[in-house]
């Protein structure tokens, strides 16, 4: 079924024509972190240690985390049913009940499928994401539906290098190259059904190279192991300027602690995320808590706009997890299967 969705989107991507104008992906979908814990922790992942899969969000952590590892993950967003309904609607295959149902909720729906493998050694790491499919659909206007959609296919490679001075200060650099093939447009259902609808689905290709430095200062001998971090993410150069994949650098300042608990590992983190659309202090704050006990890791994170709750179960080299994420107009379920060697 998954492959059918992917193929349908690929077919959908085979048009040619007009200049696209549609929704922009949220920063969280552009920051290249397709890992389940990145999605669950949100921006707080840049300051937390409880992140034992894939490369860390902040490259400075590569020098702190001494354990070498290799892991591969498959992550799926579970809005597949909605995607199928949306495609049938746009293909003209829906019936009256299905049309009424799809417009009974007015919310943005996004989804993601990603395969990523990463390899980490003390002070460096590389990660390859040969396939990532991201889509966002939004329908509005029950009288004549307008579709705001973007669907993209990405291939990325990431390299992280880090070092430390005086034991507690770590500095790292992440180089991230992404090739993106996407369609994105805003159109009415009448335009999608009219004779020249192929023009709405022009494929765009974009190449982006991000240069993302990160820093970390950790009081590793203190009781609760507090640490503070800084990172500049999504700073780079693009083959061309687009509304869907803009170069919008964001600064991240965060801190985390690990309060002592009798059993398991508890970590609490907070992050300030500043970019060109940040208007006030509350917009920038996000907090997260993770608790790891045996095979389970529970994650709760939230900002004033969205909340996420999830768990990851790791048994030997296999891991699986599920995360619910919701905001005002959008909610998703993410699932993951992973292998660590």
């Amino acid at each position: 079924m998954l492959l059918r969705h992917v193929l349908t989107l690929t077919v959908l991507m085979s048009g040619a024509g007009v200049v696209a104008k549609a929704a922009t992906y949220s920063p969280v979908l552009r920051d290249g972190g397709s890992r389940f814990l990145v999605r669950s922790l949100g921006s707080v992942c840049y300051s937390m240690d409880s992140f034992r899969r894939g490369l860390p969000c902040n490259p400075a952590f590569v020098a702190k985390d001494k354990a070498p590892r290799f892991d591969a993950d498959l992550m799926l967003g579970s809005n597949m049913e909605y995607l199928r309904e949306a495609e049938e609607l746009l293909d003209g295959k829906s019936d009256e009940q299905a049309v009424a149902k799809i417009f009974s909720r007015r919310e943005m729906v996004d989804g993601e499928i990603s395969i990523e493998a990463s390899f980490q050694r003390p002070t460096w790491g590389i990660s390859v994401e040969p396939y990532r499919l991201v889509y966002v659909y939004q329908f509005e206007n029950a009288a004549l539906p307008m579709v705001d959609m973007i669907a993209s296919e990405e291939q990325s490679i990431k390299a992280q290098l880090a070092s430390f001075t005086s034991g507690n200060f770590y500095a790292g650099l992440q180089l991230r190259y992404t090739h993106i093939k996407y369609i994105g447009n805003s159109f009415s259902i009448a335009e999608a059904m009219a004779g020249d609808s192929d023009q709405l689905f022009e494929i765009h290709n974009q190449d982006i190279l991000y240069v993302e430095p990160g820093f970390l200062y950790a009081w590793e001998d203190a009781v609760w192991e507090p640490q503070i971090s800084a990172m500049l993410s999504q700073w780079g150069v693009s083959s061309y300027k687009s509304q869907q994949y803009p170069i919008r650098p964001q600064g991240l300042l965060g801190a985390s602690i690990k309060p002592t608990v009798p059993l398991g590992l508890l970590e609490v983190g907070v992050q300030f995320q500043i970019h060109n659309e940040t208007e006030n202090f509350q917009d920038a704050v996000r907090a997260a808590i993770t608790y790891q006990l045996g095979l389970l890791q529970a994650v709760v994170s939230g900002s004033q706009y969205d909340q996420s709750v999830g768990f990851l179960a790791t048994y030997k080299s296999f891991s699986t997890g599920l995360s619910y994420w919701s905001e005002k107009q959008n909610k998703s379920v993410f699932i993951q299967f992973g292998v660590s060697l």
């Binding site: 009424a100 009288a143 004549l144 009219a194 004779g195 503070i228 970019h275």
Partner: protein, 244 residues
């Protein structure tokens, strides 16, 4: 301590870098979205006023369709009722029973095709007088635009309008035929039929704009309808009152 000061300095530089060049976030899409919300909340009157103002500033096809859809929403046209016409999809309708009839294949196909269209037709809502006025306004808003989607939407709205006019005419005809029928009573129906032909001509034109690759096919229908109308207008209407 010096390390921490360095870190803070880095952070300050990051904050400055990341706050560069604030872009305007008010786009056509966001303006349209504001009006669409009014439609989704069924505040059609406010949506009509909102899109009228927006249309003066931005005569984009999306704005025209949004205004037309606000009128259509106020007229009670729900997308699920007209969706099959928008997508021009063939329904698997119940076939007409043709057993015992000696029809050739061509006629049988025609009857089956009519049965399918009858299924689509049944779903199209019948409008009130105010609703017809609203859809009339919607069609006016759309009439000058050459965008294929606009033309398709215009054609669909005309079909809705056509059904209401036909239904009203047939209802009235049922009342008239209950009594004795005279030529002076028939004349308005003759005019009504010519108006319906005009609507069909407009629909043909809309479809030519909506499907440029099938332009010839729809142009042929338009020509045939125009010929039919011209032939009908040539028929002399009797001067004296004739009753049947």
């Amino acid at each position: 301590m010096r390390t921490i000061i360095k870190l803070i300095l880095f952070a300050a530089v990051f904050a400055l870098l990341s706050c560069q060049g604030k872009e305007s976030v008010v786009t056509r899409e966001s303006r349209l979205s504001t009006g669409h919300q009014l439609i989704d909340q069924r505040r059609y009157g406010e949506a009509v006023s909102y899109f009228k103002k927006l249309l003066q500033a931005d005569p984009h096809p999306h704005v025209k369709m949004a205004l037309a859809s606000a009128y259509a929403g106020r007229a009670g046209i729900r997308i699920e009722k007209i969706y099959t016409f928008v997508v021009l999809r063939d329904f698997q309708a119940e076939a007409v029973s043709l057993e015992g009839l000696s029809l050739n294949q061509q006629t049988e196909n025609l009857v089956r095709s009519l049965a399918r269209y009858a299924e689509h037709w049944k779903k199209v809502p019948v409008l009130s007088e105010q609703g017809r006025a609203d859809v009339g306004h919607a069609v006016e808003v759309l009439q000058q635009d050459t965008n294929a989607g606009v033309r398709l939407y215009s054609g669909v709205l005309r079909v809705v309008l056509l059904k209401s006019v036909v239904e009203q005419g047939l209802q009235s005809w049922g009342q008239v035929t209950a009594q004795s029928l005279c030529s002076d009573q028939l004349q308005p129906y003759f005019q009504w039929m010519l108006e319906l032909t005009d609507t069909l001509i407009f629909i043909s034109r809309d479809l030519q704009g909506a499907f440029p690759d099938r332009q010839k096919e729809f142009a042929k229908y338009e020509t045939e309808l125009a010929v039919f109308k011209a032939e009908a207008q040539k028929i002399p209407w009797p001067q004296e009152k004739i009753c049947f």
